[in-house]
């Protein structure tokens, strides 16, 4: 018997790792992957709670999150491709033309 808390804990750890990835990597593709990891951590927490409360709502929400993530990835990757086409580089630190 595994306590639900363990799942929540795992979700928190995975989320923190995702956030860390966003902060320390300069490759926008990896940043994207980190964001997907954070989304997954959130999904895991949802499903754990759905199990805990014996409700389908959490699962349904995860379903929507997956759909939104798919859309987000499609647009995001298209953007990255387009940026690469114009700048021949995707280092995120060089995209600072909006600095103050």
């Amino acid at each position: 018997m595994v306590p639900v808390d363990y799942y929540i804990l795992l979700s928190a750890v995975l989320f923190t790792l995702g956030a860390l990835g966003v902060l320390i990597r300069r490759n926008p593709l990896i940043i994207f992957m980190s964001i997907e990891l954070m989304l997954n951590a959130g999904n895991l927490a949802f499903v754990a709670f759905a199990n805990m409360y014996k409700s389908f709502s959490g699962q349904i929400f995860v379903f929507f999150v997956i759909a939104v993530a798919a859309a987000e990835v499609a647009v995001g990757l298209a953007l990255i491709v387009e940026i690469f086409k114009t700048r021949k580089n995707i280092n995120i630190d060089e995209m600072n033309s909006l600095k103050g």
Binding site: A19, V22, L23, I24, R26, I92, D93, M95, N96, S97, L98, K99, G100
Partner: protein, 719 residues
């Protein structure tokens, strides 16, 4: 209501139409007048006035079948405040119906006359658009006059009183931007203002009388006042004396008595139908009506009656002497009107109300006739002047000055004003019985009626007054008798000067007779002037008017003919006419010749000619000091003290000092400005610092978000 029933019980329900009919006429002309032709406008106005006359006749019939019972016809509530209960109620009795008949009857004739007169007047003065306005004013006047005579309270009477005053003002100033000769000037509007302001003095007296009445007698309603008066007269007679004398001030203003008569001669600036209707036949008799209406009050205080009679008699004599020295055809009639009003006031003052009212009616007939005929003469001269298209050669002013004062006086005021032709100046007339024969005969009838020649209406009415005077106050009798002599004299002088001799001006030679629309009303008035005496003949069984007014005024004395009084006045009148023939008729005036009376009478005639310098006296005693005080107040008190010192120096200076030193230098520059500048500087420096945060590295921003998440979670933990 069935007709038979109506005829048997009376037409009293029609009373409001006395006012509504002329108001309807004026509204129609006011709204549609621009689309109407002159004929339609005149017809509408005349029909409105005629409707009021028909209503008056029906009301008079109703009173007579009701055996003179007074009937009040309530129309609406008016003022209900505390104990003051005033309703808009029409009072129909024999006295008020008499006035209604005179006002609407003469008024209708003058409306018809005015169609013809104004048709030409607006063309001579080059403003045909004013035709409509004239008839609107005339109908408004009829409505106001009807309110005056039909009101059931002193306040309702006062509304009409002010209404006719307004109409008088509007109509005197009808050609407000010119003088009587049509030149650009403020003379006419000054005359209108004079009439209005002098009347205001009288109205002030009327108002004081009204306040006293309400304070001591507790009401404005006629019957209530008269019922309360005897008790007050017992306990405090001075109250009634004060009320009646203050009322006399109002009467003197409206009916042009000494000392407030001075506006009436100037009022001749209005078109001639106005002079006839308002300033001779109807409005100016409102004072006589007021005294007759207040008869129960005056009867209580003989002292006041005596003062009223003396004022009337003095005015009658005084104005008659001035009329002798006038050259303007309408001015002569104006002073004659004042004089005749003096007769009426004297009569009602003596308690001879029937005689006063009789003379009022008679005067309305023959003075309207005279004024309208004078208007016909003036129009005839205008026509002649325009037909001849010849102007008197201009006399050089500088040359005339050198010729001296005497010559200038001889020339008179006509040439003094240069080339303007004055169609009202009798010195421009002469011999007009040939060019305007019909007008001459009509004028002659009016003049003889005014002079009191048997058997015209003036004889009977004036004789009744003289007879009453001889029985009451001898001094009044003699003043009136002498005035009668002067009356006959100045009328004779006028007839000789206007209609006999040779024309003294080309216009008189080319004068043309007036059209029918003008002469027919004159013929009706002439007929009334001849036959009007039948109203109240001094024979047993013929005191019709006395009997009729007796319904309202109580038992009145009906005196038989006194041959002594009648013969004295008639003899004096004939003598006066004879003298006037000797002076003016036998050797007629030639152009430029001074008045033949000037030499024998000397300074007396100068006084008559200049109205005994009363206007100048008023100017010296009242108007000029008033202007000086006003000037002083405006210039020194208001201008230099209030404006220059208090406003400019004290208030404005203090304000400037305060705003400059205290507010601008300290509060504004060091306070508000400093704060606003500091705010701008601070914003700039802060943003200069803050922009470094925007370093363009998206990872830094993410780090900041992360920091925020950590801090918020930390807050939640340590909360």
């Amino acid at each position: 209501m069935h007709l038979n029933e109506t005829i048997s019980s009376g037409f009293f329900f029609l009373a409001p139409w006395l006012v509504f009919a002329p108001v309807t006429g004026l509204l129609i002309n006011l709204i549609f007048g621009r689309q109407f032709s002159e004929k339609v406008i005149g017809t509408v106005a005349s029909l409105a006035s005629g409707a009021a006359f028909v209503v008056s006749v029906l009301l008079a019939y109703s009173v007579s079948i009701n055996h003179g019972e007074m009937v009040s016809v309530p129309l609406a509530e008016w003022i209900h405040i505390g104990t003051l209960q005033l309703d808009w109620t029409f009072r129909v009795d024999s006295l008020s119906t008499t006035m209604m008949l005179v006002v609407s009857g003469v008024g209708t004739l003058i409306h018809i006359y005015a169609i013809g007169y104004m048709h030409e007047d607006v063309r001579f003065k080059n403003d045909e658009g004013r035709f409509n306005r004239f008839f609107i004013f005339l109908n408004l006047f009829i409505a106001a006059m009807m309110i005056l005579v039909s009101g059931d309270s002193f306040m309702m009477l006062f509304v009409g009183w002010e209404g006719v005053g307004l109409c008088s003002f509007l109509l005197i100033g009808f050609w407000y931007e010119m003088d009587t000769l049509g030149r650009s000037s403020w003379a006419n509007s000054n005359a209108a203002k004079k009439a209005f302001i002098v009347n205001r003095v009288g109205d002030f007296g009327f108002l004081i009388a009204g306040f006293l009445m309400f304070w001591y007698l507790g009401s404005f309603q006629f019957d209530a006042v008269f019922a309360a008066a005897p008790a007050v007269a017992e306990s405090a007679p001075w109250v009634i004396v004060a009320i009646t004398l203050f009322m006399l001030v109002g009467v003197a203003g409206k009916s042009a008595q000494i000392p407030l008569y001075i506006w009436l001669p100037d009022a001749m600036a209005g078109p001639t139908p106005v002079s006839a209707l308002i300033h001779a036949a109807t409005m100016v008799t409102a004072g006589v009506y007021l005294v007759a209406r207040s008869a129960p009050l005056y009867t209580l205080v003989p002292q006041a009656q005596y003062i009223v009679a003396m004022v009337g008699a003095g005015t009658a004599l005084f104005a008659a002497t001035i009329a002798v020295g006038q050259y303007d055809i309408k001015k002569v009639l104006a002073y004659s009107t004042i004089s005749q009003l003096g007769y009426m006031i004297a009569a009602v003052g003596m308690g001879a109300y029937v005689a006063g009212m009789f003379h009022l009616i008679a005067h309305a007939f023959f003075k309207a006739l005279l004024f309208l005929s004078a208007g016909s003469v003036i129009l005839g001269l205008e026509r002649g002047h325009h037909a001849h298209a010849h102007h008197v050669s201009h006399v050089d002013h500088g040359k005339k000055k050198k010729e001296g004062k005497k010559k200038e006086e001889e020339r008179g005021h006509n040439e003094e004003h240069g080339e303007a032709f004055d169609p009202g100046d009798m010195r421009n007339m002469g011999g007009m019985r040939k060019t305007m024969p019909l007008t001459f005969w009509l004028y002659l009838i009016g003049a003889l009626a005014l002079a009191g020649i048997f058997p015209l209406v003036g004889f009977w009415s004036k004789d009744e007054i003289l007879l009453d005077a001889s029985l009451h106050y001898t001094s009044v009798y003699w003043q009136l008798t002498i005035a009668a002599f002067f009356t006959a004299f100045y009328m004779g002088r006028q007839i000789w000067m206007v209609f006999f001799g040779e024309p003294r001006h080309a216009a008189a030679a080319h004068a043309q007779e007036s059209p029918k629309v003008i002469t027919v009303p004159l013929m009706i008035l002439a007929g009334l002037s001849v036959l009007g005496g039948a109203l109240n003949l001094p024979f047993e069984g013929f005191h019709n008017l006395g009997h009729w007014l007796g319904y309202t005024l109580g038992e009145v004395e009906s005196l038989p003919l006194d041959l002594k009084v009648a013969s004295i006045s008639t003899a004096l009148a004939l003598l006066a006419i004879l003298i006037s023939w000797l002076i003016y008729g036998r050797n007629t005036l030639r152009a430029g010749q001074p008045d033949p009376l000037k030499r024998p009478l000397g300074f007396i005639f100068t006084g008559m000619e200049n109205k005994w310098f009363v206007d100048e006296g008023y100017f010296a005693v009242i108007v000029n000091p008033f202007k000086k005080i006003s000037q002083f107040l405006a210039d020194v008190i208001d201008g230099r003290f209030w404006h220059d010192f208090v406003h400019d120096t004290v208030i404005l200076g203090t304000y400037n000092w305060l705003s400059e030193i205290a507010l601008d230098r300290y509060a504004d520059q060091k306070g508000i400005d400093a704060f606003a500048n500091w705010l701008g500087d601070a914003t700039q420096s802060i943003s200069a610092t803050m922009r470094k945060v925007q370093n363009g590295f998206v990872r830094s921003y993410a780090l900041a978000v992360m920091l925020g998440v950590v801090l918020i979670l930390g807050y939640l933990i340590f909360k």
